[in-house]
């Protein structure tokens, strides 16, 4: 029972991330911000749980990560959709 629920949650989170990234590459913090603002704070996820999901999707080849500069000129890891990811 519990596994199906986590799978469901995971699937939802993945979908949200993919949707968010379809607008262009973003770093992890920005993804969290977007998801929260879009769902108008209805969806309360621990922000940390975003990262395992990102790594999982990267391993699956849906998204691609690259280090870049953030708005305030710090090193940040940016994620963008791959072609496989776009199809999901």
């Amino acid at each position: 029972m519990s596994t199906t629920r986590t799978e469901l949650l995971q699937g939802t989170l993945d979908l949200l991330i993919l949707k968010t990234l379809s607008g262009g590459p973003l770093h992890g913090y920005a993804i969290a911000q977007r998801i929260q603002s879009r769902s108008e704070d209805v969806l309360v996820v621990e922000e940390g749980s975003l990262y395992p999901a990102l790594y999982r999707m990267e391993a699956k080849g849906w998204i691609r990560a690259e280090w870049g500069k953030s708005d305030n000129n710090r090193r940040a890891k940016y994620y963008e959709l791959t072609r496989t990811g776009r199809r999901q």
Partner: protein
């Protein structure tokens, strides 16, 4: 694609584990700091901002762990840890390790050795790709309406000169067609005339088998020496030496290329030496001389003794060759000239003149039933030994695991998952199997040399007795399969034990213990059965060897000596010099041999 990516991720994390960890930490910290500064901007104090950021983030440690696992960082580390730990425990339990590695080395090494020899002599005697397209062609040989037989197989020799010529005309079917014809040349020494046996071959003979020379070169297409009426080279020509003759007669002279040998009054210039593995079409061949074509003087006859080998063109089927041979036989039988140059014996045969085709590998394997039996028998026996070794090792591992039960439960209690424990045990057994595999290669190297002496020197060979790629793959396969087999069983048992621990300890241990005992009892029974099979087989083998040794030759071979006498062919041939030979023989008997003290009597033949 996905699999490849996953492997790449794992590999990368294996190589640069600290870097990957740092990346993860940096990314997560960046998130916290961004959130904190956003909080400060919203009016919180720095301390409060940081706390709020961590709260929203959730459990930092577990997120970090999860990320590492996703990246495989932790998996790679676990693996290395497993290997390190495995090596340490194996070193700690030296007695166990030595026994297991030795058992495996013997099993794996002996299996590899015997497989190598079987493979290079019987299974795949011809090197190179597509050896299946190599065929041999010969005249059908009947005696009194029956196939002439040799060990239950049709006697397969070759073609006569007019037949060879007719078949060679159909080069549209063959990529290469090469032939070989045995020849004996005389070599005069101070006291004797020695006979040296070799082969006349078509210049493309070595190309067909695709074996390069050890020294020098092989024949060029235009080097074929014309033949005289005795089917010997008409003049001086070139020669390639076999390794064994080069060693025994020329002392392995590295400067041999370009030197000449005088045989039967002709000068032969040595242009190459073949490697030791090339012994074809007969194991005792001393040399090869390029020659052709055969031109028989009118009225001269020659039997179908030219062995013919061919490589079919890519899209040619054996049936097409057979059809062509049928037509050729038909045409030749209708040619009046054939009877003149070849005789008319074939007219008495039930099928008339005809040809047959067989795979070229039969030249290596046909008539080798004894060797086949010995080698395959050994292979089966050694297979049993390997199985016994495996069962033995599995049993030892189980016994050892029982001793380690305590350790396992402590580790389980400290939080090691069942999968983690199984992986640890599997790593240990694969390590053991690999160590055994390495030892096995050593045993195999020695074994191949020993087994090589079992193969009669007269046997045709194109391949070396050495551990080839096939055999090495075979070892590795056995080695890893063995590791998995005896790794999975104890690991599975370990898993069981862990489950059982959840139950009340006393009763749980009793059930697990009994099941394990049954299992180990089963292993011992299998071992015992295999050993019995081996013993019985070995006993029977010894018995048949003893019976062979007792075969009565019909005379007492004690104190008998045989002398061979070679006479120059031109001065003493059978046709014209029968009386001369008889006179020589009686002189030899009376005046030389019988005068040697302590010779009681002598007789002669031929």
């Amino acid at each position: 694609m996905n699999l490849f990516r996953a492997i790449w991720f794992r590999l990368r994390s294996l190589g640069q584990s600290p870097a990957v960890k740092q990346e993860i930490d940096e990314e997560l910290r960046f998130h916290l700091e961004q959130r904190a500064s956003a909080n400060i901007a919203a009016g919180m104090s720095p301390v409060e901002a940081a706390r709020e950021a961590r709260k929203r983030f959730g459990n930092f440690q577990s997120v970090r762990e999860e990320c590492r696992q996703m990246r495989g960082a932790s998996l790679g580390e676990d693996f290395l840890q497993d290997v390190r730990f495995g090596l340490r425990t194996l070193c700690g339990d030296r007695g166990f390790t030595i026994v297991v590695v030795l058992a495996l080395a013997l099993g794996i090494g002996a299996t590899t050795a015997i497989y190598s020899v079987v493979n290079s002599t019987l299974l795949n005697p011809i090197p190179g790709a597509e050896s299946g397209r190599l065929i041999q062609i010969a005249e059908r040989d009947y005696i009194r309406g029956e196939f002439q037989e040799q060990n239950g197989k049709p006697f397969f020799v070759g073609l006569s000169p007019p037949e060879l010529e007719a078949v060679m005309a159909h080069h549209e079917l063959f990529e290469q067609l090469a032939w070989t014809y045995g020849v004996t040349l005389e070599r005069k020494t101070d006291d004797f005339i020695e006979e040296d046996g070799g082969f006349l071959v078509s210049p493309n003979f070595f190309e067909l088998w695709d074996v390069p020379p050890l020294l020098g070169r092989t024949f060029a297409a235009d080097e074929a020496s014309p033949l005289d009426k005795d089917q010997l080279p008409a003049g001086d020509t070139v020669m390639v030496l076999s390794y064994s003759w080069w060693q025994s007669f020329f002392g392995g002279d590295p400067q041999i290329i370009g030197k000449t040998v005088v045989l039967s009054g002709r000068h032969f210039t040595v242009i190459g030496v073949m490697p030791v593995r090339f012994q074809f079409p007969w194991g005792r061949a001393k040399f090869w001389v390029p020659a052709g074509p055969f031109r028989l003087p009118p009225g001269w006859r020659m039997g179908p003794n030219i062995r013919v080998f061919a490589r079919l063109k890519q899209d040619v089927a054996v049936q097409e060759v057979e059809a062509m041979l049928g037509t050729v036989a038909h045409q030749l039988a209708a040619t009046p000239g054939l009877a003149k140059s070849y005789g008319e014996e074939w007219k008495d045969r039930p099928g008339g003149l005809g040809f047959w085709v067989r795979p070229a590998r039969s030249q290596f394997t046909d008539g080798r039933e004894d060797l086949e039996r010995t080698l395959f028998g050994l292979l089966a026996a050694i297979g049993c030994v390997l199985l016994i070794a495996c069962a033995n090792v599995a049993n030892l591992s189980l016994a050892r695991l029982e001793k380690r039960q305590h350790e396992m439960s402590v580790r389980a209690a400290l939080g090691a998952g069942r999968a983690r424990l199984m992986r640890q045990l599997l790593t240990e057994s694969v390590l053991l199997a690999l160590l055994g595999g390495i030892g096995g290669v050593g045993v195999a190297t020695v074994g191949v040399k020993l087994l090589g002496t079992l193969v009669p020197p007269s046997m045709p060979r194109l391949r070396a007795f050495q551990i080839d790629g096939h055999a090495l793959g075979f070892t590795m396969l056995i080695s890893i399969a063995t590791g998995l087999v005896f790794g999975i069983v104890p690991a599975w048992q370990a898993g069981q034990a862990k489950l059982a621990e959840a139950l009340k300890q006393a009763s749980a241990q009793a059930t697990a213990g009994r099941r394990q005992k049954y299992f180990r009892g089963g292993l011992v029974a299998i071992e015992f059965a295999l050993t019995l099979v081996l013993l019985a087989g070995a006993g029977l083998m010894v018995e048949s060897v003893v019976r062979l040794l007792r075969v009565d030759p019909g005379f007492s071979p004690q104190n008998l000596v045989r002398i061979d006498l070679e006479l120059p062919w031109d001065k003493y041939n059978d046709y014209n010099h029968k009386e001369k030979i008889a006179r020589l023989r009686s002189v030899l008997w009376r005046q030389h041999i019988l005068r040697i003290p302590r010779i009681r009597g002598c007789g002669s033949r031929g």
